[in-house]
Subunit: 304 residues, 2 copies
């Protein structure tokens, strides 16, 4: 771990190290021995796949502000657990009815619908277990992390956004309506990932707001790019069914702004994210947000 | 509220007052304005029905140990939210496929399966939101309550018990297997309700263990009585479909011990719960656990 804090590490090397840590943490915390196959379904839904964007955001934000490493690792795992549970539930027949996710059959295809629903439910609870260890994280920080995560996951965050998404199939949404939906559905958890990392360290009010703005910008950029990839990439590259949104007649940034317009919007949001990081740096040490900047690049330039 | 602390209040008057407080709290905290009908589905699943046993256990335990009232009310609402979400998911077609609950059509019948799943998901998140307010509850207590609730709800608690329940349909379970299933499925949350109340106040180690034992005993008694009522009561009295477990060939205390054996088991557990309360009283003030004793009576002698 000697090199782990080095701001001079290349981003790729940093990311590889952090992904190993996150994977090891999830391996340890997602139980193999939960009863009646529930643990198998949970592990299938969480381990060994996924870009781990939310954990990387937590860890990069935590390191940018000198955050407690144990707390940040727990927040990273918790954010991924919430994300992974939402995919498990979202793929079920009563929702998106998808059979392919992260290049594998979805959890309900592999384990049945009842087990998939329970696994998702248990993954959400596990996120809050992971945030509240008996030792190693200050209780007040545990409470703060639970507060941030619960609000991002719930009715005014991810779950609320999914409800709007369901209600919007086949409807013409305005651009502000589409944005508000995505701010909840994916943006809230991405922003909360950044803010959970920030909560693990020390920020002044301006830095906190700037990190929140960074989280908002990359959260929305992520979705705009998702919409672009849905029409430009094949299923085998995405690891999930491509063209799905178009087929379902869901409103997207591409259907609303066109492909070029969506690309311009992604570039604008990218610029806004980087501008927010400049504000964080002005009241902190120079270079502290380089990982967050690199993650913003990845979000905008990803191919799947 | 002058009379609210009075240990000399009759149990019925105490319970009526507490039920009003719990209902008012849930009314306030379960959002009416969550987007796209999600709030309506959540409120339908939580408000205006249910015995509120878990909230009453939280509040009675809290009062027995001089607990913080705001924290205990939040813990009471959170426990009910977890219970209510589990009913919403449990009733869905991929699980128990039940159409009647608390005397009303189930949430998925009323709002559709997708909304029911999302409402349950959002109710679980809301439980942790309610436990982590910005002000009014000490952060360390917030963390403790989140820790207790998450573990009771998750893979080693309620969700794990439901997985075992699903896997046990049509199988011959031994009595220890049946007990272990129920300890998770319903017992964990009932015990956690008692312990969340206890966490809001002051207990020594012996009191904590005794309250935990009380919770275990009434948790299991609750299930034994449930099994008895399933074969002795009509659907209109239960507010849910009677004879369901028998029809599904699920193992129950009645199928394992016979009706008389199950009744003796409930009486034994009742006695164990009261004995545990005697231990709590020996190191506290006399009469402090009278509400918990009355709740144990209700659990064992309830008709629905």
């Amino acid at each position: 771990m000697a090199a782990a804090h080095g701001a001079d590490m290349s981003f790729d090397a940093w990311m590889r190290e952090r992904l190993v840590e996150v994977e090891r943490a999830l391996e340890q915390w997602v139980p193999a021995d939960a009863p009646a196959g529930l643990g198998d379904a949970m592990r299938y839904g969480v381990l060994g796949a996924g870009k781990r964007l939310r954990p990387l955001l937590v860890l990069a934000a935590g390191e940018a502000v000198g955050g407690d490493r144990e707390a940040a690792l727990r927040a990273a795992a918790a954010a991924e657990l919430i994300h992974a549970y939402s995919l498990v539930h979202d793929d079920m027949p009563c929702m998106d009815n998808d059979v392919l996710r992260r290049g594998k059959p979805t959890v309900h295809v592999e384990f049945g619908q009842a087990q998939a629903m329970l696994a998702g439910d248990a993954m959400q609870a596990l996120a809050f277990e992971v945030l509240t260890p008996e030792h190693g994280v200050a209780p007040a920080l545990q409470a703060r992390l639970c507060a941030l995560l619960a609000r991002a996951a719930g009715h005014d965050g991810m779950a609320g956004g999914q409800a709007v998404d369901l209600a919007s199939i086949g409807r013409a949404l305005s651009e502000p309506e589409l944005r508000r939906m995505h701010e909840r559905k994916t943006g809230a958890l991405l922003r909360a990932s950044v803010l959970m990392g920030a909560a693990c360290g020390h920020t002044d009010a301006a830095q906190w707001l700037a990190l929140s703005d960074y989280g908002d910008a990359i959260g929305l950029a992520f979705q705009v790019v998702d919409d672009i990839l849905d029409v430009t990439q094949a299923s085998d590259v995405l690891g999930k069914t491509a063209g799905k949104d178009q087929d379902a007649n869901k409103p997207t940034y591409v259907s609303l702004l066109g492909l070029d317009g969506a690309r311009r919007r992604a570039a604008d949001l990218h610029a806004r994210a980087l501008a927010a990081l400049a504000t964080v740096e002005r009241s902190g040490r120079a270079g502290a947000t380089a990982r967050l900047a690199a993650l913003a690049d990845r979000v905008v330039h990803r191919q799947n």
